[in-house]
């Protein structure tokens, strides 16, 4: 880094006449910085794989299939955090996807024109609030609210229903997978909604106008013109939200309960990959313990990178489609 800074200074000090040399230097500096982005991503992935090798070697596949997480006995099976991560992210998407599409529809079609920019800005501010604030609010305000008002109702009305009953049975303690999933859902809404709004706005006017001319209602325009046309971008936005939800740490750490028991009920405390790392890493006192947590980070990193890459590919496809039709 010092070397590149030095190069930058010498490049700036070079006389105008040595344009070619300065040009090469400038090219080199910017290309080095670009390489650095690539390097950091690769180094982070490699370092997680290297740090987790002891856990992978010791436990093999049992690392992801066993739910036995015993720091004292030195057994580490990560099924509970993996399960908790997937379940909370699923709840988040179930909430966030329809709500985000509704918001996008409201902001492109329904809201009075002058209210659109301020409402869109307010929704985007949801993404600006630091996740630790979500966590504190979740722990002190939202979890007690869930415990007092929502979870008893769920237990009473859904707890005895066949099939879904077990999901909603158990003591209403407020801290658990359902609460964490809802908080995650709120956190990913702005990401999905802003992409959806953007692509809804980018649907070519002639398409919508033809539908209107045929007498289509607002709902029919959304379901038969807008959504099919923007499908790949919407799916991309969903994957973007999923990537965010999988890796979110602080908010989940506050409201998930850090429990290493596998339970079907969504009202029970659980764990997630990111929360387990945040809670336990500084307390991990053996090499195997630390390595197991880093191995978890490796799994999380690889999965989110794949999910986010899919999101990016789908969004690029939408851009190309829009580029062609315009």
């Amino acid at each position: 880094m010092n070397a590149s800074l030095a190069r930058e200074q010498s490049a700036a000090a070079a006389p105008i006449r040595s344009g070619a040399a300065a040009d090469r230097a400038f090219q080199l500096i910017t290309a080095t910085a670009a390489w650095l982005v690539l390097l950091l991503l690769g180094a982070a992935a490699l370092s997680m794989a290297w740090g987790g090798r002891l856990a992978f070697k010791t436990f093999g596949w049992r690392f992801v299939t066993s739910s036995d997480w015993d720091a004292v006995g030195g057994h580490f099976g990560a099924l509970v955090p993996i399960y908790g991560t997937l379940v909370t992210s699923a709840i988040a998407l179930i909430i966030a996807v329809p709500v985000s599409i509704g918001i996008a529809l409201f902001l492109t079609d329904i809201a009075p024109r002058w209210t659109r920019a301020p409402i869109a800005m307010a929704i985007e501010l949801l993404a600006a609030i630091p996740s630790i604030i979500y966590g504190m609010w979740g722990l002190f305000i939202f979890a007690p609210f869930m415990a007092a008002h929502v979870e008893p109702w769920l237990g009473a009305h859904l707890g005895n229903v066949a099939i879904v009953g077990p999901l909603f049975s158990g003591p209403p303690i407020g801290i658990g997978m359902l609460t964490a999933g809802i908080v995650l859902g709120i956190m990913v809404i702005p990401f999905i909604a802003s992409v959806a709004r953007e692509v809804f706005n980018a649907v070519p006017a002639p398409l919508r106008e033809s539908a209107v001319a045929l007498g289509a209602t607002r709902w029919e325009i959304l379901s038969r013109v807008t959504l099919p046309y923007t499908r790949s971008a919407i799916i991309g936005a969903v994957f973007l939200g999923l990537g965010r939800a999988l890796g979110e740490t602080m908010a989940v750490t506050f409201v998930l309960g850090n429990a290493h028991d596998l339970s079907v009920s969504l009202l029970m405390p659980s764990n997630s990959i990111a929360a387990a790392i945040a809670n336990e890493f500084t307390e991990a006192d053996t090499d195997l313990y630390r390595s197991s947590l880093i191995a978890l980070a490796f799994l999380l990193f690889v999965v989110t990178l794949i999910v986010l890459s899919i999101a990016k590919l789908l969004l690029l496809r939408m851009n190309r489609q829009l580029g062609r039709t315009h």
Binding site: M1, A11, I16, G19, A22, F26, Q27, T30, A31, T32, A33, A34, W35, V37, L38, L40, L41, A43, A44, S47, M48, W50, G51, P98, V99, G102, I103, F106, L107, D109, I110, A122, L125, L126, A128, I129, P130, I132, I133, L139, F140, I189, A193, G215, T217, R218, W219, E220, L222, G247, T249, M250, F281, T282, L300, F301, T304, L305, L308, S309
Partner: protein, 279 residues
């Protein structure tokens, strides 16, 4: 032009649903902000900015945490912003359409949403393990790694918005490429690039996960960047998770200051951006 009842019902349902969804989204924003404002305003005291983080059961402030956070954000800025601007310049100007630029542009977006706790662990392996102790430098590096992709993305986008005529005009004057970029393109895109950097500051100021294993925390005043450094997000985390009421109050006060700072910065950025488009 009577629309059949069923179609009209579906239309009204869509209308109601979209309005309800928007109200649902806004509800959380106001609930969270209201909570932070109410709890935080009640906890605000002058001592917050003059005293150190206290042990449980005694009064105190968050001065050391404010200081540590400010120093680390500043250091992250000094490291991350120039690198981000340089890389963004490569993507939009000097390496435009090159294979490296395409790949980096793609992966940068992936890095933008990558879990920040993994970045924290990476810096732990890189700096904390090798140095043998937690440090403010490690925390700043982790924040810089989070800042970098944000600055790369916004720089690339703002440079792409500069019309090609300006580049052509520069070349027509016989300027070498690096002077076209540094003296014409940067000037045209300056406010957009600065906006991106401000957004990046707003983002890293509240980041907690990457600091947990790098800067750790420090209950006492310390200006030593080569040792554990107090910082606002981790203090909020530890105090909120503790069983002590005094600590909860301090955590709310910290949350209030942090949220106000981040939201103000975001509103400022939006205001600047709007002014830019009106010009």
């Amino acid at each position: 032009m009577a629309i059949p009842v069923r179609r009209r019902a579906a239309d009204i349902a869509a209308f109601v649903f979209a309005s309800a969804a928007t109200a649902f989204g806004l509800l959380w924003l106001f609930w969270i902000l209201w909570t932070t404002l109410r709890q935080g305003a009640a906890a605000l005291t002058p001592e917050l900015f003059t005293q150190m983080t206290p042990p449980p059961g005694t009064a105190g402030g968050l001065l050391n945490a404010f200081y540590g956070s400010a120093i680390m954000v500043l250091l992250a800025l000094v490291v991350g912003a120039p690198l981000g601007v340089a890389a963004g310049t490569y993507l939009a100007e000097h390496g435009r359409h090159s294979r490296l630029a395409t790949v980096v542009s793609f992966l940068n977006d992936v890095l933008l949403s990558a879990p920040s706790i993994v970045i924290g662990l990476f810096v732990y392996e890189l700096l904390v393990v090798t140095a043998g102790h937690f440090s403010g430098y490690a925390g700043a590096l982790a924040l810089a790694m989070i800042l970098l992709p944000i600055v790369v993305r916004t720089t690339e986008e703002s440079l792409r918005l500069v019309p090609d005529q300006m580049r052509e005009a520069g070349f027509a004057l016989g300027l070498p490429r690096w002077r076209v970029t540094s003296q014409i393109i940067y000037k045209a895109a300056l406010s957009a690039i600065l906006t991106g950097i401000l957004l990046g500051i707003a983002r890293i100021a509240g980041e907690t996960a990457p600091l947990l294993f790098t800067a750790l925390n420090n209950q006492f005043w310390s200006a030593n960047l080569n040792g554990p450094l107090a910082n606002l997000p981790v203090v909020i985390f530890q105090y909120a998770m503790s069983p002590y009421d005094e600590w909860h109050t301090l955590a709310w006060a910290g949350a209030f200051v942090l949220t106000t700072f981040v939201l103000m910065l975001n509103l400022l950025v939006r205001f600047l951006a709007r002014k830019g488009t009106h010009r």
